[in-house]
């Protein structure tokens, strides 16, 4: 990744370059949000290609990784922008815009970012990005099931059979994405490049 410090070849292009050359703080923030959104969209689309459509309810949540990074780099407000852009644009590219999968991923994406952001702002360093990610994954899973229950009119009774699966699944996927996000956030290059 190109850094703002490597001034030896100033003609190179790319988001980071634009980011580094912009003077204004809010402008930098917008560049960073759009960069993260682009990454998240790509990850979401790639992930939907990895898993067959039969297991639409099971994802590692690679795009969720970007949400965590966004929370650490641009704060909760920016992360919500990233999630909205990601779910709307990825669903348009995948052809699922305004269909049930979109409603599910949109609502649970926003709820999970809210939970993660609140957990991070309230508990500060009590949780590492892995913990934050687990919180996000589990809240994502639970919201997803609540939305489905609401849309299909099932009784909430069914949820108790899913709870163990959702909790353990969220734990595992949350750990994976959190581990990735943690390593990205702790990279010296990232810290240097994106310190506002």
């Amino acid at each position: 990744m190109r850094l703002p410090s490597d001034n030896q070849n100033p003609n190179t292009d790319g988001s980071v370059r634009i980011y580094a050359t912009s003077q204004n703080d809010s402008e930098k923030r917008i560049y960073l949000i759009s960069l993260l959104s682009a990454l998240a969209i790509v990850l979401q689309i790639v992930e939907s290609m990895i898993f067959p459509p039969q297991v639409i309810w099971f994802r590692i949540g690679l795009a969720n990784c970007i949400s965590i990074i966004a929370i650490y780099l641009v704060g909760i407000g920016g992360a919500i922008y990233v999630v909205i852009t990601r779910t709307v644009l990825a669903s348009i590219f995948l052809g699922t815009f305004l269909s049930p999968p979109f409603v599910i991923s949109f609502s649970s994406g926003i709820v999970s970012v809210l939970f993660m952001g609140i957990a991070k702002n309230v508990f500060k360093t009590f949780f590492s990005p892995i913990g934050i990610s687990i919180i996000g994954a589990i809240s994502h899973n639970l919201t997803q099931v609540l939305v489905v229950v609401f849309m299909l009119g099932f009784s909430l009774d069914l949820m108790k059979y899913l709870l163990p699966v959702l909790l353990i699944g969220g734990l595992l996927t949350g750990f994976i994405t959190g581990y990735v996000a943690k390593n990205v956030i702790n990279k010296e290059e990232i810290k240097k490049a994106f310190s506002l």
Binding site: T125, F127, I135
Partner: protein, 136 residues
């Protein structure tokens, strides 16, 4: 940006809160699982359908052995201690016999060649007349 500096050092995999969080989640999941496995519903009646018509209801509280013979079909059903099975059948592959005992409400044994369904009656979990997942 101060947020980035707040991030814990990479030397430690977990922060204190993470371990606490993981422990709570594991305990909760384990507790719910145990609760679900330990709480048994007590089905009392099994229903026998032949050709999609309700032919007989069998109580599961007492032991019972039912033999059926008509046309080319013969099979027998055994019920005891809250469970039921098809113990013999003249169907070619004997899928129904190999399925063994069923004991939870909503479970069923289906014998396709003989057009026989044995179903344990339970409360309806889903409301009728609502949209189901197939509609999407």
């Amino acid at each position: 940006m101060e947020n980035v500096q707040n991030a814990p050092t990479p030397s430690k995999l977990f922060a204190k809160g993470d371990i606490l969080l993981i422990a709570i989640i594991l305990i909760t999941a384990l507790g719910i699982t145990l609760h679900l496995f330990s709480s048994k519903d007590n089905p009392t009646v099994a229903e026998l359908y032949i050709n999609n018509k309700l032919v007989k209801t069998m109580p599961l509280t007492q032991e019972g052995y039912y033999k059926f013979k008509y046309d080319n079909v013969s099979f027998s059903i055994e019920a005891k201690e809250g469970r039921v099975r098809i113990s013999e059948s003249n169907c070619p592959r004997k899928v129904c016999v190999h399925q063994g005992w069923i004991s939870h409400s909503g479970e069923s044994i289906i014998c396709v060649p003989n057009k026989v369904v044995v179903k344990i009656k339970g409360e309806e979990k889903m409301e009728k007349g609502k949209v189901d997942a197939i509609t999407f």
